[in-house]
Amino acid sequence: MKLGVLSADRPLVWMLPLIAMLVAFTIIPLFYNIWLSFHEYAPFKRRLEFVGWENWRLLFSDVRMWEALWTTMFYFGVVLTVELVLGMAIALLLDAEEFGFGVLRTVLTMTLVVPPAIVGMMFLLIEDPEFGVLTFVLDSLGILDKSTPILATGSTALWGVMLADIWQWTPFMVLIFLAGLRSLPPEPYEAAMLDGASPVMTFRRITLPLMSKVIAVAVLIRGIDVFRMFDYVFVMTSGGPGTSTYTLSLYSWQQTFSFIKWGYGATLSLFTLVIILVIANLFIWLAKVRW
């Protein structure tokens, strides 16, 4: 059958809609963002003015930016590590055909369908110093008393936000790891059992190496997501107390939309993009991920 330009040996034609969308929604905005980073909006003149490298110079001398970067990196490191370890542990536990485990695996997906802003609101209440259940538990255990509100204390606020993230996204890691575990060949495990390998040794010598690609992909996807986290801090702390939970995304948003510093906001978001690209590519190289 002749299809003319729509024949199967002309893949470019089939890809055109996707390419068009990519150009319209990714490539053009990216170049516009780069152009914008060399301009700044002048409120009284109501127009963008060319400022050269001024926004980039400001970026590197901006104390708030460095604070936000440090907060983001810290958040990134802790959240990703906890979600990775916890996600793998739960996946290993659920990787069995026990009664009820199928339901549990289904239940795990439920946190993923809740919008992050709603999760933020939930944890805002859970961590409320007056009636929050977490505050009550910590107070009862003598770990943190009510006079130290979790989200309004500099030393605990970021941990309070991290909790929401970990609660919502650990199941995502579990599901990916579970899918990986279920696709592993049974032969190496049978051989290990015959050789008398302990469960820990089996995990270290067989499961981890076989799962390395799956783990790398999960970490990469979550890592990019965690680095640009916005919703939780916006809802739960607005960056406070002080600047202790200001992430790069929140700071970019504030500069762009609250103070109409479009040029500086664009510079901050480009800087965030560069960091994500560097970290992601470094990770891909180190983890030897092949696409």
Partner: protein
């Protein structure tokens, strides 16, 4: 019956009685069952008379006839407004705009948002000049930077006499509010639309139990708050606040204590003055008062502050008067009929004069957070928007807003004396029994923030972020915190 249930029930039967839903005989029978004497009739009520029937609160026929007449060429137009969730906007959106829409043939779309989101929508609309919104809800702290983007209502009146609402005049609005909310240099940034203002609100039952009366001085306020917290904490705290780091509400609280100690945000040279002796004395006072508040206070904006009183956690607050009618609502709070309003405690030191401050700042313990309503210069429908604006801020609409919308403070002097408003001075939802205090506060205690284009950034970020850091213990002292604010503020102001 538990004591709290008793109070709740008492508030409910009082409310039903004054609304005319319960006969005097039934009321007295119920009151007697609670062990209350006939004296309860007067408890918390300035006028224990049955009030108007709700159906008597209909918009003026004359006003709607005028709307119908002048709107004829604009039928089918859609007007858009983004506003904070305040009593006037809620009343117009939920109950009153239907009358305007029916008469005018226009559609009014009102987006009710948190204040910071209104600011974003407004600034984006101004910057893009798209005219997405026909009317701007302008918090007084944004007046300076929006002044060139809205019509001065005096110009609209002069330029469009055929669209002028009969009897609508800028002079009818409280002059103090016009100056404090809607004036920037020689321009009017719309007209005053609402007037949340700091008044003293306290639990009369607890104050009576402790042998206190409404505090007259700031020091007395602290002593009372401390005594209540010491005696009743942690179930009940003497005071509460709106102290969320990085939020505008924290800046609002700060100014009340600053002005109340004879300080000011700026000096006459336009330099930050919150770090001078008066400013540091205010910080010392505030830090002490903070210890008498619930532990969660540093995570609350005005919503949390109001809730802490409404749910019976805090006994007093110096805050927005528009909370008072909400506190009186027995279906929403635990304190209906238990609250009283009073003027704020008097300043410890003499207030600075406007000449001693900068950028038109007006010191006063009664911090006002009013807003104006104005027609955007970017609007594609400025004339229809102007018609709506006049109707929304007219005398009759303000009466209805105040009566139906929850007892918010009117911005027109005459509305305070309207019989429909006076009739609503009873315990219950939407009471107006606090409005005399509001009017006195506007006249005698009102404090207004400075007007400068950078103020939105200073009030919403620079100052409250650093104050938040101070209360989170990230500075060694109040002096260090205020010096840091001074440095950051002066750098922004000097450009």
């Amino acid at each position: 019956m538990k004591d709290s249930d008793k109070k709740l029930y008492r508030a409910k039967i009082v409310d039903d009685y004054v609304r005319g839903k319960m006969s005097r005989r039934n009321f007295l029978r119920n009151a007697a069952a609670l062990g209350l004497g006939a004296g309860v009739l007067g408890a918390g009520m300035m006028r224990p008379q049955p009030v108007f029937a709700q159906n008597s609160l209909e918009p003026s026929k004359e006003d709607l006839d005028w709307v119908r007449e002048v709107s004829a060429p604009f039928r089918g137009t859609t007007l858009r407004l983004a506003t904070e969730s305040t009593p006037p906007s809620n009343a117009i959106n939920s109950q009153l705009k239907q009358y305007f829409e029916e008469a005018s043939g226009m559609t009014v779309e009102i987006e009710v948002l948190p204040l910071e989101q209104v600011l974003q929508k407004l600034t984006l609309d101004i910057a893009s000049q798209l005219g997405t919104y026909d009317l701007y809800y302008i918090d007084q702290s944004w007046a300076a930077f929006t002044s060139r983007d809205v019509f001065d209502p005096r110009e609209q009146l002069a330029d469009k006499p055929d669209l002028a609402m009969p009897g609508w005049a800028v002079e009818d609005f409280l002059p103090a509010l016009v100056d404090g909310i809607a004036r920037y240099e020689d321009r009017l940034v719309g007209v005053p639309y609402d007037i949340p203002i700091f008044i003293m609100q306290y639990r009369k039952d607890i104050y009576d139990k402790m042998g206190f009366t409404a505090p007259v001085t700031l020091e007395e306020y602290y002593e009372q708050a401390k005594a209540i917290t010491d005696e009743m904490g942690p179930e009940m705290y003497g005071a509460t606040g709106q102290m969320k780091s990085g939020h505008y509400s924290l800046e609002c609280d700060w100014t009340a204590w600053l002005w109340g100690h004879g300080g000011s945000i700026f000096d006459s040279n336009g330099k930050f003055a919150g770090n001078d002796d008066a400013g540091l004395e205010a910080m010392e006072y505030w830090t002490r008062l903070w210890k008498t508040m619930p532990p969660g206070v540093t995570g609350w904006t005005w919503d949390g502050q109001g809730q802490s009183v409404a749910q019976g956690v805090a006994a007093s607050m110096m805050s927005w008067g528009e909370f008072f009618p909400y506190f009186d609502d027995p279906s929403a709070t635990k304190v209906s009929g238990l609250m009283e309003a009073a003027r704020c405690p008097q300043p410890k030191h003499a207030l600075r004069t406007v000449e001693q401050t900068g950028f038109g700042e007006i010191p006063g313990v009664g911090h006002q957070g009013g807003s104006s309503l104005a027609v955007s210069r970017n609007s594609k429908n400025p004339d229809p928007a102007w018609i709506f604006m006049q109707w929304a801020t007219s005398y009759d609409t303000q009466v209805l807003i105040t009566a139906l919308g929850g007892g918010t403070g009117p911005t027109r002097e005459a509305v305070y004396d309207d019989p429909r408003i006076i009739a609503n001075r009873r315990v219950g939802a939407g009471t107006t029994r606090h409005l005399d205090v509001v009017r006195d506060t506007i006249a005698m205690d009102m404090g207004s923030e400075p007007d400068l284009p950078e103020w939105a950034e200073l009030a919403n970020d620079t100052i409250p972020v650093r104050l938040g850091k101070y209360f989170a213990g990230e500075y060694g002292s109040a002096k260090e915190a205020m010096d840091d604010i001074a440095q950051a503020t002066d750098a922004i102001v000097s450009g």
